[in-house]
Structure formats: structure tokens, C-alpha cells
Amino acid sequence: MRSEGRFRRRRPSCLLGSALALGAAVCFGAAPRVEAASARGSIADTSLAWPSPEELARVLTLSDYNTRVVMLGATLLGLASGIIGTFMLLRKRALMGDALSHATLPGIGLAFMVMAAAGGTGKYLPGLLLGAMISGAIGLGCVLAIRSWTRLKEDAALGIVLSVFFGLGVALLGIVQKMDTGSAAGLESFIYGKTASMLSGDAALIAGAAAVIALTCAALFKEFALLCFDSGYARAQGWPITGLDVVMMVLVVGVTVIGLQAVGLILMIALLVIPPAAARFWTNHLSAMVLVSGLIGALSGLLGAGFSALVPRLPAGAIIVVVGSLIFGFSLLFGPARGWLARTLVQRRLSRKVLRQNLLRAMFEYHEQAEGAAAGVAKEASPGSSLTVAELLARRAWSLRTLRRTLRAAQRDRLVRVDAGVCVVLTREGLAEAQRVVRNHRLWEIYLITHADIAPSHVDRDADELEHVLGATMVRSLEERLAEERPVPALPPSPHSLVGT
């Protein structure tokens, strides 16, 4: 049976690995050597061992050399992947990192085999990283080839490359593990990561990569921005699109390969996707977004590594991602630029404004009709004449509740007065505002009739939607446009019959 190599003693460096292992053990009864009783015992023990104040102080002051290295490495990795991830997200290639990071695995296996065959230890890190880089690049090439040469779309191309390359990697590692030369132990850390056992060399490598990425992105900022937002225009301007894409991809492959060691393959994807997706809620400017994304990545790395150093039995890679996704959730809700709350407030403000203007126009037109505009000429409506809530309710398709709420808001703004709870009266300011709104409405209607050849009976609805967003400049240019043909009165009469007549 080919099973001996599959079940080995758990190594301390492979904490995440054993985590997954329990996943398998937990899932299915097929797992031998797992005693249910002991497993249950550990599950009952769900209490977190909270750190003592001394431990807290040690971590916070970074007095531990190891903690210092890990936190620095995780922070820089978050920073680097956050920066380059921004461009990937905007280029609509968020999941490219997923395929890429899976595609690195066969390169690691092959590099190990080649180096072992050449008589080395096989675990020479730069060699492994070079192998990972090369096979990642090949995987990327395959994605592009499938996408542009066949009728399959990007998603299928990514999925194919991801699974087939990873399958190849698994098969190669399967061979490697049974080779006589050199122990392959630890190669799996490329899949699951081993943040907590990061060495200063790793951290230095990450720092170097972060520096290269930051400098390249700064130097090519304009070109990358053009590529992300309008690659067709960039091509027309004569920029080397393919070359720029290659540079961007090389940076992504680089940060992925380096990050593999630290947080592992699957969680590396998170570092490339989550910070930029979160940063998008905070700003609409690319430069700011790059900074915010890098910052969020760094913050997740710092907090995640710190937290996992404080509390035992928490895998750092996973904690980093969880911190990142909490930040994402917060940004999704409260981000000032595109967050849910911000957009809801803007929408609510707009719908209130629309309701108030509808109310004013309804009242104004009521008075206009009531005061006998038989000749079609509006007379100066005087404040003071009133109409009942029931009459108002019948003028538009609004519910009584909406109408009452709108009336209350308008009362607060001193635009209307409600006498005795039923009689609604326009105040002087209300009248002025109503006149402005009605004027905008009718200007647009006249414009539609004279310039767009729309029947007078059809313009009301269109103008009803547009009157609320006509700015001052727009109104002025409408006036000028219409005045070329005939003078526009201060308040033009309605070009069509009003409701209720």
C-alpha cells in the first residue's frame, strides 16, 4: 500500500498543516490513528489562553527577536501585496493571483528534484523560489493562451490552470517525498505557510521585494493607471501594453512566491484581494487607493502576526486573513467613498430633496389652477392660500405616510405651514423655492418640445425626473438656448394640461 509516506509525525513547523489535517480527520471516519475520545477532549477545551500582562508587554514592545522578525515580515508582505493587488483588482484580474499561486507548486517540486539530482540538498531557497517563479510564469502564459486562443472565458482559463498545475505539483511532491536523496520535509510549508517560524532572512527577502514593488509602482504609476482604466486608449497612445502587463505580472508572481513561504498559498490570495477591495470603499482616487490598500495590508499583517504571537494555538496566516476580512467588512459598511452607509445617506438625502420639491410643485400648480389660469398665464400666487392634505394626496402617487413625512420636513425648513393639522400653506420662502422648481420643470419641458420633438403630452414625466438635478449652470444654458428663439418669461406657463384639470 502506498500509504506509509502519507502519515508522518506532525512537525511543529507545520502547524497549519496539522490544522488542515484535523479538517480531514474531523470530516470523515476514514482517518486512522485518530482517537475520538482525545479529539473530543480537545474540542471541549475551547477556551483561549489569554496572555499575561508580561507577555503582552513583551509583544507590544517587540522585545522578542522572533516576534519582531515575524511582525516586520508580515507587515511588509501585507504592504507589498496591498500595493500591487490594487492594480490587479482594477485590471479586473483579482483572481489571477489565485491561479498564479497554485501554478507555482510544480516549479517548487521540479526545482527540488533538479537540485537533489545535482547533488545538493534540494532545499536551497533561492533555487526553489526560482522554480516557483518560472512555473508561475508558465501558468500565467497558459491562462493568457487559453483565454485568447479558444472561446473559453477567463474564469475557465484560471480554473483549468489552477487545478491542473496544482495537480502536477501534488504529483511531483508525491514523487519527491519518496526519493532517497534528501528529505523533502517542509516543502508543504509552501502550501500552508509557516508564518510563525519566519527567519530574518525571509523577512529581509520580503523587505527587498516590498521595496522593489513600491519603487516600480511609483515609477510606472501613470502607465499602470492608464492600463487599469483604459487599456485601449493606452494602446492607441502607443504605450507598450503587453510589456506593462508583463511587468505587473512579474511583480505579482514575485510577491506571491515570496508570500507562499510566509502565509501559504491559499491565504496569499487573500492578501492580494482583500486589502485593495477594502481600500476601494475609502477613496475614488487611485493614488490614495494604493496607499490605503498598502496600509490595510500592512495593518492586517501587523495585527495578525501580533495577535497570533500573543495567543497560543492560533495560526498566524489565518489570523492575518481574518483581520483583513474584518477590516474589509468595516470598510464595506462605513467606507466614506463607496461604503454602504455613505451611499445610503447620499441616496436618502436625494430622495428627501426629490420629495420636497415634488411637494412644492404640487402645491404651486394647485394654486395656479385654483386661481384661474384659464388663459394659460400664471399669476403671482400669494402665500397664504391653503389646500388640504387630502387634496395634496390626490395630486401625486404618494402614500399618506410619505406625504406627512415630507410635510414635516418642509415645515422644519420653514417652506410650508400646516394649519390645524390639515390645511397646508406655502410660506414666502416656500413660494420662492416652489417657483424655482416649477420653472426648472417647465424650462426642461419646453426644451424637450422645441429641441427633441417630443409631444407636449409626453414631456411631463421626463421633466419630473430631471427637474431635481438641473444645476444652476444647466438652467442658465437652457435659458440661453430657449431665449435665442423667443423670450422666456420669469415663469413660463405649463405647455400641457395639469393634473386634475
Binding site: A21, L22, G159, G167, I269, R313, A318, V322
Partner: protein
């Protein structure tokens, strides 16, 4: 090679898993949600952990329930973040599944101390261990995994057949499905649930990576092979099954050739199905890369031939007395094709006896002259037609006619001629050759190649 009953069971499990995944994969590929398979197979981890932590058992039912719930949640969260936060769909998928995977890891690691197992089980699967855990069925000892996967395959087959029409409509046109009263959203979530449950059923035996491979790769290959939905379903299952069988064979034979022992079967199954895909991608009759290349190349050759014919005809026409015969070098520069392409065109024209070569250069044969006359007729008719119906300047007519002349079939030429009664000269003042009986083989070819050429 040493094939035993163990190998048969391993292959049986692989085939059943591949079949169940490939069936569902068709819809993922058609709806452009291939990465959803990847996302769900990673995201079920917390579902499994919570199911275990709450029930305390490792039975299959809680696991399936947990996986189904989490699978739906993944789809729902992805949709939420996509609509609520206006995040691009693939990015929101990336956020959701990585976050859930991380949460699952933490849940599990909190209870990890007492367990001692290799991580490979989830990712690589333990397909080699399947024959160890057997259950008696009708007197035979059948591996438990084969039973589960057999049930899974039957369930997926039933699902596909039962909702054959609904799945098809919502895969190709969700809006139409909604107007027909089929809830595309319901089908979406049903599909996601099925994917999640299949993922979990296959985890144990073959590992998540093979699940993703079998979900996406066979269906993609089938999509390149056919344009029919039913055929695609069948083909995808066949490809998946072939990949599984060949994959196991490869796992036990290929490494041995290089002096290694055998390797992970599920890894090799993924690789094999990938190789099958590569084969299809290049050799598929209609959508394959090579067949498209050959197709395009043949079309170029035909156009080059026709360009040469047209050129020779015009030279004869311009100087009927001396009848200059160009040599190869002149032809290359005049036709505008690369030297080897025009040389190839000349060779093919000589083989068809439309052009002959005498000491002074190349000349049309009488057969070639007839073909060339039809071609030039098409060119000049089109120019005249354009000039009549579109207000184009005279110097803009040639380029369009140069492209169109190759695709004007005989009936179309005569229809244009009927539209221009009594016209004998084109807008440049040259004669339009008289229409011959359609013996030139131009027509049939242009009819066949027409649509493709327009696309190219």
C-alpha cells in the same frame, strides 16, 4: 505494472467522482462561474468544522448539511458583497472564500492538539486508502467511498436530468428563464448546493484539487468540442472518466520510467485530464487552435491564389499585344503577400493548371483566364454597385472591392449584375468582363468559406 483489485476500486472511486463533478461543471463553465467551484471547495472548511464541533460526530450527514449551508452562504455572501459594495464579482468571491477558509482553519486549529494526521488528506485526498474501509453490499465487500461517490453520481445525474430544461435555459439566458417563469436564482442556489455537497463527498477520497480539476477541465474541453448542450454533458463525463482511468495508470507507471516509485493518484488524474484538455484545445475540429490556424491559412492561400490570378488578368488586359509575363519577384511585390505565400500560391495554381510558366514568366492558361475573369468581374461589379448606392469617392471603391471579391458567390454576382442593367464599365472606366457559365470553381468555394472569412 501490477494491477490488483485495489487498483480497480481506486479507479472506480476516481471515475465516479470525476463523473459527478463533470456533470455540474458544465453549468459552471457555461455560466462563467468556474471559479465558484474553487471558491466553494475552499470555503466549505468552516462548515465542516462547525458541523463537527456542534454535533461532535464525524458522520456523513452533519458534514453534508454543514457543507451545503456553507456552500449556499458562500454564494449569498459573494452576491451581497457584489451588489451591496459594488465590488467586482470575482474579487468579492476572492474575499469571501479566503476569509471563510481562514476562519475554518482557526476553528480547526483550536481543537487540533490531539490529532496527528498528514495535511495531504484534504488537498491531495487519500484515494489510495479507499479499499481499506469496506462495507458489505450483497455479499461483496465494497469500499465505503465507492458507495458514497456512487450515490453522489446518481444524485447529480438525477439532478441534471430532472432539471435538464431549467438548467439549460438559465445557463444560456437567465433573463429568458425569468420571463418563462423559471427562477434563475433558485437554479443558481440549487447548483451551488449541489457543488458544495459534491465537493464534500469527494474531499475524502480524492481531495479538493481533483474536485476543482474535474469540475472545470472536462466541461471546458467538451465546450470546445461541441455546440450542443446534451452532447456537451455526455462528452464532459466521458473526458472526466478517461482522465480518471488514465490518471491512475499514469500514477503507477510514469514515475517508474524515471526510476521513482509511484505518486499521488489524484494529482496525476488532474494532470491527465489537463493533458486531455490540451489535446482538445489544439485539435478540436471546429474550435481547436490548430484547426483554426489551418482553416485561416487555407483561406489566406485561396485569397493569395485569387490575387495572383487577378493580377495576371489585369496585366494581360492592360497590354493585350505584348502580353507581359511577370516573373516571381515582380509578383511578390505586386500582390503584397509574403514571398513564400505567393510562391505557394503560384505552385498551387500551376498544379490546378490555371497558370503556366514559360521562359519569359508566368501566364494564365485558358482555364485560369476564365476563373480570373469571374474574379475581376466580381471586383468591378462590386465597385460599380458601391458607386451606385453609396456616395463613395472613386478612389475609395477599390479597397472594399478587393476584400469583397473573394466572397461574392455566383448567384450574388448575377444579382448585382441584374441591379446594374446595361452597365459595361466600372467607375474607373475599365470593362467589366462578361459573366460566364459558372464553371469556375470560385463560387462553390466562396460559398463554403464565406462566413468564416468575414469573421477572420
Amino acid at each position: 505494472m501490477n494491477w490488483t483489485s485495489l487498483d480497480s476500486w481506486i479507479v472506480a472511486a476516481g471515475v465516479l467522482c470525476a463523473g459527478s463533478c463533470a456533470l455540474l461543471g458544465n453549468f459552471l463553465v457555461l455560466r462563467r462561474m468556474s471559479m465558484m467551484g474553487d471558491a466553494i471547495s475552499h470555503a466549505v472548511l468552516p462548515g465542516l468544522a462547525i458541523a463537527f464541533l456542534t454535533t461532535g460526530s464525524r458522520g456523513s450527514v452533519p458534514m453534508f448539511v454543514g457543507a451545503a449551508v456553507v456552500g449556499i452562504l458562500t454564494a449569498v455572501f459573494t452576491q451581497w458583497i457584489h451588489t451591496l459594495g459594488k465590488v467586482e464579482e470575482s474579487a468579492s468571491m476572492g474575499v469571501v472564500f479566503t476569509a471563510m477558509f481562514a476562519a475554518g482553519l482557526i476553528l480547526i486549529v483550536r481543537a487540533a492538539d490531539a490529532v496527528d494526521l498528514d495535511p495531504g488528506c484534504v488537498l491531495y485526498g487519500a484515494i489510495e486508502l479507499i479499499p481499506l474501509d469496506v462495507r458489505p453490499v450483497l455479499g461483496f465487500m465494497v469500499p465505503r467511498a465507492v458507495l458514497i461517490l456512487g450515490g453522489m453520481f446518481a444524485a447529480n445525474l438525477l439532478f441534471t436530468l430532472l432539471f435538464y430544461k431549467e438548467l439549460r435555459i438559465s445557463a444560456f439566458d437567465p433573463a429568458l428563464a425569468s420571463t418563462l417563469g423559471i427562477s434563475a436564482r433558485l437554479m443558481h442556489y440549487l447548483l451551488m448546493t449541489a457543488v458544495a455537497i459534491t465537493t464534500v463527498a469527494c474531499f475524502e477520497s480524492v481531495g479538493s484539487i481533483l474536485v476543482i480539476a474535474m469540475l472545470i477541465v472536462p466541461a471546458s474541453a467538451a465546450h470546445l468540442l461541441t455546440d450542443r448542450y446534451g452532447v456537451m454533458l455526455i462528452l464532459s463525463v466521458l473526458i472526466a472518466v478517461a482522465g480518471a482511468i488514465l490518471g491512475h495508470l499514469a500514477a503507477i507507471t510514469v514515475p517508474a520510467r524515471f526510476g521513482f516509485s509511484d505518486t499521488s493518484t489524484s494529482g496525476m488524474m488532474a494532470v491527465t485530464v489537463g493533458l486531455l484538455f490540451a489535446l482538445v484545445m489544439f485539435l478540436a475540429p471546429r474550435h481547436g487552435v490548430l484547426s483554426k490556424l489551418v482553416h485561416r491559412w487555407l483561406l489566406s492561400l485561396r485569397i493569395a491564389c485569387e490575387d495572383v490570378l487577378g493580377l495576371l488578368y489585369r496585366l494581360e488586359e492592360a497590354d493585350p499585344v505584348r502580353q507581359p509575363a511577370p516573373v516571381a519577384g515582380m509578383l511578390h511585390s505586386a500582390v503584397g503577400w509574403s514571398p513564400w505565400m505567393s510562391r505557394l500560391a503560384l505552385a498551387s495554381l500551376r498544379r490546378r493548371r490555371q497558370v503556366r510558366r514559360d521562359p519569359s514568366g508566368y501566364r494564365l492558361t485558358s482555364h485560369g483566364r476564365a476563373v480570373a475573369a469571374e474574379l475581376v468581374r466580381a471586383h468591378r461589379l462590386w465597385e460599380t454597385y458601391l458607386a451606385k448606392h453609396l456616395p463613395l469617392a472613386a478612389d475609395h471603391l477599390h479597397d472594399s472591392a478587393d476584400r469583397t471579391e473573394h466572397f461574392l458567390s455566383h448567384p450574388l454576382r448575377e444579382a448585382i449584375a441584374a441591379d446594374l442593367p446595361g452597365v459595361l464599365r466600372d467607375p474607373h472606366g475599365t470593362n467589366i468582363p462578361a459573366g460566364d457559365a459558372p464553371r469556375a470553381d470560385l463560387t462553390s468555394k466562396s460559398a463554403v468559406h464565406g462566413p468564416d472569412a468575414e469573421k477572420g
